[in-house]
Every structure is written in structure tokens, then in C-alpha cells.
């Protein structure tokens, strides 16, 4: 495996115009979290009128919705980038050069995938840590640092799921716009389908933390099962994308 391929792919992703927005969003998240982190926010404090300062009000009424919204935006942006990565490069002509100068397609596919996963982790993980810390200091159920590992792991699976499905869409799509629309349509349908077919806590994707961390903690067994299912499905998506890319994919 040529590490240069991975380095280059990651460099490309981080230089993409959209990640700049993501990074700005991360900084924004971190910055707006500072006042609440500096202040003493706990369940008891919030209930106490004396200690419920303007900082707490700001954190409760403004920061949390903004942070949550920013988090969702980051997720969407990551989804968009992973969905368009191949059609965009194919349309611009960059993929031609990559295919010609790569040792083989397996290496190029692996490099792109590893870079996307690293990028996805950077995008979501930073934001999640901010959210977790915020929740930890607020009214969330997590009490020890160790208990953060499970939601973080589930976040990783969630990221892999989104990336895998988008890589598959990206591989079979001819054009960038088709890839974006397909990705949006599939995720919207999937999300709604899951919500309607299984509204109980623990249904995968919608209820995988950190989107719904409390559900994960309330029904961990169900959530773990869903994570395993999500991971297996992800591997299926990646296998199809890999076979298609290495055996059939053509630059037109």
C-alpha cells in the first residue's frame, strides 16, 4: 500500500471548499461552547435559581440548538462530499490521472476509502466531543469518561455506514448532481422508513448516538444489535463498490 495515495487523498479532501465550511463550523462550535464550559453547569445547578445565570440561559436556550444544528449541517456536508467524490473527479478529469499513475485500482479505492473515513471521523468526532462534553456538564446521563467510549464507537459505525453507502452511490453515479440527489433521496427514505417501521428507541441510524444518545443508553442491547447490522450492511455496500470500481468502472 502506497501511503502517498492516502496522504494525497486526505489532502484533497481537506482542501475541498466544503470542508472549509465544516472546519469553520467546528471552530464555531468550540468557540460558542467555551462560555458554558467555563461556567458550572450541572443538573442541580440548573434547577437552582441562584446559580442559573445568564450564561446558563444562553447555553440552554441558544447554544444547544445552534450546536445541534451545526452538527447536523456537518453530517450533511460530509455526506455530500463522500457522495460526489468520484463523479466530481471524473467530471473534472482528475480521476484519469489518478487511475493512470496508481499502482492498481485496489490501492486507489483503499486510499480514497481510508481518507474518507479519516475525514468523516474528523468531521463528526470533533463535533461530537463538544456535544458530549456539553451534555456531560448539563443534563445527560453519562457519568464516567469510559461510558463515552460506547457512543463514540457507535458514532464511528454510523460514520462508516454513511460513507459506505455514499461511496457506493458515488461509484455507480455518472454525474455529480445525480450522486447528490440519489444520496439525499436514499438517506431521507431510509431514515423515514426506519422511523415508521420501528419507532422504538434503538432503531439504527436515527437512534444511533449521538443523534439520540439517551435512547442508546436506555436500550443498549438493541442499539448494539443495530450497530452490528449497520456495520455488516456497510461492508456489503463497500464490497459492491469495490468490485464495481476494480472490475467494471470506466472513465468516460
Amino acid at each position: 500500500m502506497n501511503l502517498e495515495s492516502i496522504r494525497w487523498e486526505l489532502k484533497k479532501l481537506l482542501a475541498f471548499p466544503i470542508p472549509e465550511i465544516v472546519i469553520a463550523s467546528m471552530i464555531f462550535n468550540g468557540t460558542i461552547m467555551l462560555p458554558s464550559l467555563m461556567g458550572s453547569i450541572s443538573s442541580e445547578d440548573i434547577g437552582s435559581l441562584e446559580s442559573y445565570t445568564i450564561i446558563h440561559f444562553f447555553a440552554e436556550q441558544i447554544l444547544y440548538p445552534v450546536v445541534s444544528f451545526a452538527f447536523v449541517i456537518q453530517g450533511i456536508l460530509m455526506g455530500v462530499i463522500t457522495a460526489i467524490i468520484l463523479p466530481y473527479e471524473r467530471e473534472s478529469g482528475m480521476l484519469d490521472m489518478e487511475l493512470v499513475y496508481s499502482r492498481n485500482r485496489t490501492e486507489l479505492f483503499a486510499a480514497k476509502l481510508i481518507a474518507l473515513i479519516l475525514f468523516g471521523i474528523i468531521c463528526l468526532f470533533t463535533s461530537t466531543i463538544v456535544l458530549l462534553v456539553y451534555n456531560l456538564r448539563g443534563a445527560w446521563l453519562v457519568e464516567t469518561l469510559f461510558s463515552l467510549l460506547i457512543p463514540c464507537f457507535s458514532l464511528l459505525i454510523q460514520t462508516i455506514f454513511i460513507i459506505s453507502l455514499n461511496v457506493l452511490i458515488s461509484t455507480v453515479s455518472d454525474r455529480t448532481i445525480i450522486s447528490i440527489l440519489s444520496s439525499a433521496l436514499i438517506f431521507y427514505s431510509l431514515d423515514n422508513l426506519i422511523k415508521h417501521s420501528n419507532p422504538q428507541p434503538g432503531s439504527f441510524l436515527y437512534n444511533i448516538p449521538p443523534i439520540s444518545t439517551s435512547n442508546f443508553l436506555l436500550v443498549p442491547h438493541e442499539a448494539v444489535n443495530n450497530l452490528i447490522v449497520a456495520f455488516i450492511i456497510s461492508l456489503g455496500f463497500l464490497s459492491i463498490a469495490f468490485i464495481y470500481f476494480t472490475r467494471f468502472y470506466e472513465v468516460k
Binding site: N2, E4, A15, D96, M97, Y101, S102, V251
Partner: protein, 239 residues
């Protein structure tokens, strides 16, 4: 063994036949690939590079299938794409280093300081380049690793008159050193006449003529020029 051998290569895109039973072989020397737009030149080049698979027939590059055995041929190929596309956010020199690392070779300083490089544009981000600079960068990256097979698809596109002269000199210089197979696809026949040893004319996905440059001109031209020979063979007006 020829550098490239094509046996009855055909390529279809739905109902469109891009290539039909193309038989060709390339050895050392400069080959000019000419033909009108849509004649199948770029499709043939893409199949040679392993970017597309033939619908039928077989193509071998250095004796290997370029699509499935790319790892055995990639380091021996230099490619300049028609309408070069490079990431805009890196500098030219960074891109050249990247290609050298992929090919697992040292970046030859002779390549960087070649005559096609004017000024210090390699230190600038590619996004700031003019079309001509992008083309020059494309030429340079195609030479990295001293490849045995160099494929140039419209190499003088976007180059100014001086740049075209330099490009012709560059190819002549590579040719003088010998031991390489250079395939140049272009519409600019005057340039081709100065550099190529062989001419291959394609039309509607087929090879309609192929010969050494001298024999081709002698057979078809009334005034001893490639342009006239090409116009006559394509059934165009006398040039």
C-alpha cells in the same frame, strides 16, 4: 514484443461504435494519431491506459492487459490528458512530487528545469495558472520517471506560439535519446510533421491509413505536406 499491441479492438457506448476492429502496434518512435473529432483517438488512448475496457478484442501494453494488470505497466507510462486537470489547491511542484512518489521514482531535476518551464510558476498554486501553464505542467508530469511509453493527447492545446515551438523541441529531444514510444494525438499537422516517424489516420472508429511519415506523404500528398495528404485521404478540399 511491441510496446503496444491491439488486436481487433472494438468499443461501443450503447449504439455508438467508438472503435471498430482496430489492429495496431507501436514500437519505438513517434507516432502521430490523427483524425477528425469523434474518430476514436481518445477512446483508443483510454483503452491503452486501462481507463476503459474494449467491448471486444484485446490490447496489450508491455505485454500486459492495462486494465487488469495495471501494476505492471503504470510506472512505464507518461500521460498528458486532453484538457489537463489538476487539483487547484496544490503547487505545481507538489503535484510533480506526488506523481514521482506514486511512480516510486525520484523527481528528476532535469524534468523540472526543462525548457518548457518558464519562470517560477511551479512554486505557485495550480489554481493561479493560465491554461498554458497547466499544459506545461501536464507535459512535465508526463515525463516523470523517464517512461518508455509517452502518450500525449493534444499536447499543444492552450500553448502560445512559443510554447508550441518548445513542445516540438521537447519531443524532438526525447526522440533523439531513443528507446521510447511516443504517441501524439493532435489536429495540428504542421507540428506533427516535424516530430513523428509514423502516421495513423482514424475515422469513424477505424484505421483508414497507417504508414511511415515519408511514405504517407509520398502516397497521398500533392505538395509534399502532411496537411495536404491528410486532406486528400479524408476526402476534403485540396489544401
Amino acid at each position: 514484443m511491441s510496446v503496444v499491441e491491439a488486436f481487433n479492438v472494438s468499443k461501443r457506448f450503447g449504439k455508438i461504435i467508438a472503435l471498430e476492429n482496430v489492429n495496431l502496434s507501436f514500437n519505438n518512435g513517434v507516432y502521430g494519431l490523427v483524425g477528425p473529432n469523434g474518430s476514436g483517438k481518445t477512446t483508443f488512448i483510454r483503452i491503452m491506459l486501462g481507463l476503459q475496457k474494449p467491448s471486444s478484442g484485446r490490447i496489450l501494453v508491455f505485454g500486459k492487459d492495462p486494465f487488469y494488470s495495471h501494476d505492471e505497466v503504470f510506472s512505464k507510462i507518461g500521460y498528458l490528458r486532453e484538457k489537463c486537470a489538476f487539483p487547484k489547491w496544490v503547487t505545481g511542484i507538489d503535484y510533480l512530487r506526488h506523481v514521482a512518489k506514486l511512480k516510486q521514482v525520484d523527481l528528476d531535476q532535469n524534468v523540472i528545469h526543462h525548457s518548457v518551464v518558464k519562470g517560477d510558476f511551479l512554486e505557485r498554486k495550480i489554481g493561479t495558472y493560465s491554461a498554458g501553464m497547466v499544459q506545461r505542467l501536464g507535459l512535465l508530469q508526463a515525463l516523470i520517471g523517464d517512461p518508455s511509453l509517452i502518450i500525449l493527447d493534444e499536447p499543444s492545446t492552450n500553448l502560445d506560439p512559443l510554447g508550441r515551438v518548445e513542445m516540438v523541441k521537447l519531443i524532438q529531444e526525447i526522440k533523439r535519446h531513443g528507446g521510447k514510444s511516443i504517441i501524439v494525438s493532435t489536429h495540428i499537422l504542421e507540428e506533427l510533421e516535424q516530430i513523428c516517424d509514423f502516421i495513423i489516420v482514424m475515422d469513424k472508429g477505424k484505421i483508414i491509413a497507417q504508414d511511415t511519415l515519408g511514405k504517407f506523404i509520398k502516397s497521398f500528398s500533392l505538395d509534399g505536406t502532411l496537411v495536404n495528404a491528410y486532406a486528400r485521404i479524408m476526402g476534403g478540399a485540396q489544401v
